[in-house]
Subunit: 555 residues, 2 copies
Amino acid sequence: MAQKPSIPKGTRDFNPIEVAKRNYIFDTIKAQFQHFGFQPIETPSFENSETLMGKYGDEGDRLIFKILNSGDFLRDFNENLIKSIQTALVNLRKSIDEVDNDEFDFDGFRSNFLKEFPIALRSITNIKFDERLINLNTLSEDIVFRIYNIVLKSNVLREKLYYDENLKFPELTNIIFADFYFQLGNKYVGNYITEKALRYDLTVPFARYVVQHQNEIDFPFKRYQMQPVWRADRPQKGRFREFYQCDADVVGSQSLWQEVEFVQLYDAVFSALKLEGVTIKINNRKILSGIAEVIGAQDKLIDFTVALDKLDKIGEEKVKEEMLSKGISKEGIEKLQPLFELQGDFSEQIEALKAILSVSEEGKKGIEELEFINTAISELKLQTANLQLDVTLARGLNYYTGAIFEVSAPEGVKMGSIGGGGRYDDLTGIFGLKDVSGVGISFGLDRIYLVLEELNLFPETISESIKVLCINFGEAEALTCLKAIKALRAHGINAELYPDAAKMKKQMNYANKRAVPYVVLVGESEMSSNTFTLKNMTNGEQQQLSLEDLITTLQ
Amino acid sequence: MAQKPSIPKGTRDFNPIEVAKRNYIFDTIKAQFQHFGFQPIETPSFENSETLMGKYGDEGDRLIFKILNSGDFLRDFNENLIKSIQTALVNLRKSIDEVDNDEFDFDGFRSNFLKEFPIALRSITNIKFDERLINLNTLSEDIVFRIYNIVLKSNVLREKLYYDENLKFPELTNIIFADFYFQLGNKYVGNYITEKALRYDLTVPFARYVVQHQNEIDFPFKRYQMQPVWRADRPQKGRFREFYQCDADVVGSQSLWQEVEFVQLYDAVFSALKLEGVTIKINNRKILSGIAEVIGAQDKLIDFTVALDKLDKIGEEKVKEEMLSKGISKEGIEKLQPLFELQGDFSEQIEALKAILSVSEEGKKGIEELEFINTAISELKLQTANLQLDVTLARGLNYYTGAIFEVSAPEGVKMGSIGGGGRYDDLTGIFGLKDVSGVGISFGLDRIYLVLEELNLFPETISESIKVLCINFGEAEALTCLKAIKALRAHGINAELYPDAAKMKKQMNYANKRAVPYVVLVGESEMSSNTFTLKNMTNGEQQQLSLEDLITTLQ
């Protein structure tokens, strides 16, 4: 291979320091997940296509990476298709023979064909039409339509059909085959050649897991999951085709204590990461529905929230203009005035919302939920984060039914949200298990990484791979070193021997490049005195130590 | 969705206990990797197809999972193919017009076509033939051959070609298209619709990584990598389509101390896992080559080692028969007699080998290497593993050039190898970086898991997700509990609140099912006395404690 190897766009190699930093974040999140009683599960990287397709909207379907079936999928498909077309032509010939005149009864042929063809297809042994993937009725309809259009409308070929005794029709078969392939094949081939797809998020596989294993699970089930997901999105700065998601969810509990716990969990994780001053924004779908109800825009909930969401960016007047242009009445918008003037702390904002929402039962329920959470958090206190009500927060409105969360980085750091979540009343309904409420949050690993990097919050020792390198002066010295190294490792100290008795300068260079804090030198004098010379690479100081003291010093 | 959801065959869901057990193994291996100075890297789950294809033999290529290109790949391909066939037919028609007689000069047409067609293809804007994936010369050769066979040999169509002024040739195009698709299309379509593939092992991506990042790496580079790989193998007991590999390798050092380190690393990992008494089998490719040389079977090295490898299973006589049948001479086989009678410890076997290999330079080199390793290990001593010479060991003979390792479970446990590795002198040559020696080992996670399970070696506390569950008696009590829980978590104790004020029995049931060792009860009396009742779920004992004592007791 002449050209320099590369990796697919949108993917990344991680070098040792990057892995160490990423693992620091993972491990910190994981420790808090466990303190909060969440349990880990893992699901396969690829799921059956039917599990994923149709769960993320058309755009999502398009972004799912499909895996090619193994084996000679395309030849199998082609052979089966040719065989089925030949069967169709034999049937056609029989029909023509039966009517025995020029007025060919296409409708009769068609209805007979549609009845018989799927049966014929299924009866062909070694045929591989998988009916979970291919709708044989639609396929039959398409083929008979092709036969009509191509064969019966073509004079030359029609004659051929009448007079060719051989019934193999190689050219006819080919023409229909080609036409089929070109005009219709995509949808069948697409289904036929792939039946597995890479995980697109962790939520749908989790819902599938819960339904599939419902009899083994003790509800409420608190699970966390940290695994990569894949999206065929156009790669750009900060957007990758492979990235990790870190999710914690509870299913099977409608208790609002879960929301309280998730606010505390966010606080615990970001405090443990020393990322102080993050803002946990909270809203409630019921508040948004209530406001829409009050202003007579129940049917325009999405338009309304999309406009409201822009308040920070475009200001009050523009938001009102947008609402007006979406058909929300002037009177309705006037009722929103207190919303634009919301200020003060959580409780004060709640009071203002109460005034607006006094006539909406759903709105009042939303307020009640927010108050419960706020009161509990005020009592429990957060370590370093702030809880903030944000009525403009509308992420995930398509599926969230209660609380909506979003976390933003500390003031001064330009970064989108570094976490988010909410409650969805019917998580597992898509897989047939009704009325299981779920609530969960996720952490945006890549963005948290960038924030920690920007604020210089990664621990300094994170780039340290080994604590000590033993310089190699020859075979006997190396063996002495390896004995000491064995003892050091048994005490949890990361240590290694330079593998060759190379020049001192080269070995010291290597130690410097790897940022090793200490080197050990063992020459003849150390061997005879049973000692080790320890050199501190930061200040250059040297000490001559017994093995015991060496261990103590490095521990 | 009516049917119960499932996952693709050969893949697995892991429940919390399985994840905990797997992580116990991962974490133990990882800790030792780090003590030995190995640094982690991670590579993308999918690589460019060209990085992986052709690296694992034909069988391997077949087992690589390919990822479908996103977008409407098949329609693009079909449109481009039709367009190229039409171009070819226009060219053909021009050639026929030029010669202006019935004696069509096919050879002239062909050579002109092969010259012009690729240029024509490249000049079609919006065409998508990717020359990294499709060899246009071969494609052109195939198409011109099809034109000759189908068009020029078919009278009807030939006439059509001569007399149809329109030059669109829809039927001709279709026929060639269909034929192409059916007979040749697979190889082009297969290349066209996929250009990414899931990682098949960690070694090839590592070699790719080293070459791609060679300027950022300080050699010798000691890396470890623990990531899933995917193989489209027929699933069976213990063989999965998605599984983890755990590899440690050094590149850029020919020092035999690396081999010594790897023997120690195996010993350290299995000792840390409390899996005592594993056997680390070692051999050397040079020994096998030397023996083959001595018996005059250099050209039959594979046949020879395949037969020798069966010694344990089929016995001496059958091995000799097999060698004879593969064309190894009777005299040669007689020279092997000392090999069949090898016994004693490492050093005694080495002495016997020396006698056999005295005339082979390569064999003597192999002995020297083995002796170096054995001497060092005898000095350094292993904690719980045994190092054993096994001249029948021939795994990875296609790529290993020096040491060969294999680890087998302690006696009495029926399990294939639980680890293996070796030295390969030219790891990165496939990507153009010559003469970089590598040596590495890997751990078989799934088998180690089964062995630990069979010998009951997983720590007992591994299934404990939380240490304490607080029973929920109502809002005020719950809030009091959450305050205590917050303090417990800050001391590293995993704790949670039952989310609803459900019946006591239901809550205790949940605690039992989750195997929680302690529950905390806070009712009115506890609230007024500022205490917590701690119940030990194993023996039923109860204590009334202050928060401080609660923390101390649970820590």
